[in-house]
Symmetry: C2
Subunit: 339 residues, 2 copies
DNA sequence: CTGAAAGCGCTTACAG
DNA sequence: CTGAAAGCGCTTACAG
């Protein structure tokens, strides 16, 4: 009477649920996914049976049959920059309740490494892609396009057909901070940067535009160091900046950890901030409000970016329309005591 | 002549590889996995064919057929504590080259939340589990045991049959730091703690043992705050500590972010460290060496823990023996200027 | 050392 | 709105 073989694995299957509900497996499958038009009464019966039996769908079987998994690949440069930790947490918190898992990868700011990660992860038939910025190889671009997997870019925005993004203008933010310093009467504003990734260079562009507009630009005031950003490097750059440019009256650091290191170096060397020199940061990371003096910085809305990018991807993965393909969430100048 | 149907998906399959190599799919499968005894000449032929065709195994099909995926579930309390970021990066870097992906989850220090995550992730048939500490629900324990999935615990160690762990003694570390303070002549040593998770409480135990041993223990000197650890909280606890205990001459903070906040508060309030009061931290996080004065702390080897735990899990997943089930990697007292 | 058969648990068209 | 059939791409015993 019962055509159900007990599976060797002991796992409760869709077959058992559908039998318990007195429908076919296909109907049970559709009912459980809330998909297509299924008689509401049957949906209820199937739901009840699944609940009662403790049925949990098998992601592997689902992925194999549908050629799409429930996993979203999220690629960020690195986790040692707290910015990306916040971004990742927000993405994760948005995706998990919707039934998607997060497969994270770290590119170390290297497009070739990103392509390699992408190539490996694509075999998993991800349901979606969340990438940082737009700096990637031609190979990555083709891989993504050929796969047809929905993709949303984070941190920067771009207006282009078929390109989805959530971020803000790094250049505008760099411009705004520089203007703030100029408006406070600073005339020799230095730019201290590390890593020199694309977004840092965009901020630099904003800095240049602002200083040029004010007739204060001087290439010598740019201190660009390709090494990884850290408080220790910030301290070193601070010393070098004041050593090489005794007349510098403001230091715009491309990331808060550099700025925090600079502030501590100032304390150590007895250089008064902001009297002798103003110090500004970027991102508003943990601890910046605790510094002495508290750090003026740009608060970047990474939590909102993570949430909105994930929400946008969710819509794309479900085949829904997205109201705006490029969402600029803006950012905020936070003026504290250091400028 | 060619019995190969072209798959609708266009994906290169094992069937095509085996046909190209002139062997059966099973042999091709075994050859590619480097498993069982297969004629070396055949292995070579299969490898070559796979390479030439650009074959990439399908993880979903593999998981479905073998009832085990190539994913490792890693559960940590939260990423806003930089400690766990380092741990996670090390785990990830060890697992990825070995062909395993990382599925991360954040428990927020809540065993019930951990159980829920575990329940959800178990449906993915993970190949292995990497968990933080030993504080979990009975339900989680049963779930893990019933699944038969290899599991390694990180951060703490425990000697028990069938239990695998890589970590260090939090109590011993707490004891060592407290002894250091006592040996420097401190008599009123306070313990400032946040979060109050199990490992923090173990450090507290070490602190108590050391002070009791020296005849200096006073319950009133423990400032325990269940809120999340942060620099801002450290600053607040610093003020409260000195306000309530004017005679305190040392503050042992359970995490570096608290200690960094305390150090900055001291600067702000004009309290000289270490003359008036010594300040010690725990974990040796980024920036602690940049503080003013540089922070004395315990360097916890989270990178080694992540690497070794992942390496141990790799052995377990491959059915190999593990030399030692409980590995204590120790930790190091780092004496800087603050004590 | 190698292979034919069966199965893992689900979903996709295709019918009705 | 519902279902029978076929298939997704691999691996597990079981033989030989």
């Amino acid at each position: 009477m019962n055509k159900l073989r007990r599976r060797a694995t002991g796992r409760i299957t869709l077959d058992e649920v559908s039998a318990a509900a007195g429908v076919s497996p296909i109907t049970a499958s559709r009912a459980l996914r809330g998909q297509r038009s299924v008689d509401p009464a049957l949906v209820e019966r199937v739901r009840e049976a699944a609940e009662r039996l403790g049925y949990v769908p098998d992601p592997a079987a689902r992925a194999l049959a549908s050629a799409r998994s429930s996993q979203v690949v999220v690629l960020v440069p690195m986790l040692s920059n707290a910015l990306f930790v916040d971004l990742l947490e927000a993405v994760h918190a948005t995706l998990l309740p919707a039934g998607y898992q997060t497969l994270i990868g770290m590119t170390h700011y290297d497009p070739a490494e990103e392509e390699q990660l992408l190539r490996g992860y694509m075999a998993h038939r991800p349901a979606g892609l969340l990438l940082t910025g737009f700096d990637r190889t031609e190979g990555s671009r083709k891989l993504i396009e050929a796969s047809g997997v929905p993709c949303v870019h984070m941190m920067e925005t771009a207006e282009a057909p078929g390109v989805f993004s959530v971020g803000f203008s790094q250049a505008a933010a760099g411009y705004a901070m520089t203007r703030h310093l100029v408006e406070r009467g600073r005339r020799r504003v230095m730019f201290l940067a590390a890593q020199l990734d694309p977004r840092t260079l965009q901020r630099l562009q904003g800095y240049r535009d602002a200083l040029r507009g004010a007739g204060l630009y001087d290439e010598a005031l740019e201190l660009l160091d390709p090494r990884r950003s850290s408080m220790a490097l910030g301290a070193a750059l601070f010393e070098r900046a004041l050593g090489e440019h005794g007349d510098a009256d403001a230091l715009f650091c491309c990331n808060d950890d550099l700025a925090q290191g600079a502030l501590l170096a100032a304390l150590r060397l007895g250089v008064s901030v902001p009297q002798r020199v103003a110090v500004a940061g970027f991102n508003d990371l943990a601890g910046s409000d605790q510094m002495l003096p508290p750090l003026t910085t740009v608060h970047t809305p990474r939590v909102e970016i993570g949430q909105q990018a994930a929400a946008m991807l969710l819509r794309l993965m479900q085949g829904q329309e997205v109201p705006r393909a490029a969402v600029d969430v803006g950012c905020t100048l936070v003026v504290r005591g250091s400028t």
